[in-house]
Symmetry: C2
Subunit: 135 residues, 2 copies
Amino acid sequence: MKALLLIAHGSRLPVANAEVVALCRRLAGRLAADFDLIDCAFLELAAPGIGAALDNCIDRGCQDITLLPYFLAPGRHIQDDIPAIMQEKRTRHPEVRITMAPYLGQSARLLEVLAELAVAGPPGAKGGPSGPQPH
Amino acid sequence: MKALLLIAHGSRLPVANAEVVALCRRLAGRLAADFDLIDCAFLELAAPGIGAALDNCIDRGCQDITLLPYFLAPGRHIQDDIPAIMQEKRTRHPEVRITMAPYLGQSARLLEVLAELAVAGPPGAKGGPSGPQPH
């Protein structure tokens, strides 16, 4: 069984965490053929935490778990914090493959996404989006 | 004259700020036909700050400035901090149009970008990217 965990930082603002949950649901629909279990987890400030989400995947029989960081910058969260949690779980569950996909900021496709937003202009502008967009 | 400012949070890690500068250079190449001046600015922890970058655009004769937030979450930076800086400059320079494009996290296209990263798997995996990708 394969699992995918969308990893976000977590926010004190419930609306920000809810956006991640909603995005994760859409991602689950998009990747239903590629993963048996798709969920989100938060580094801090919101639940479930990454460790708890990994435990849930393992308890449900997943042997191959991919963490997908919803992060833009290569900071200490990407370099230290998430790898440390992964390593702890690998040590406890050596039979489970736990890997990290490139973080969002590494995608070459962000350039096109940014170019599109820049040209669309402010929300409500002619031809531009009128508010938060569905993912 | 039209200007575009790519707004990032700013990091204590120089490599993270350098990624934003590099991304902005590529964005400038991509949007050279749409804007006369394209630069990046940081909310905190790195230079130039947003206020200084806006002043630079105005000093160079830009009358229409778009801020494009390189942010994923609708937190206080998007809701309060960046709008406050914009409002201060609007008050001082009422002849200049200063607007904010949707922040990156609002793009409906992020779903496809994330799906692609998830399926590619960890850096170095077969068929996957082998490290940080050029934007």
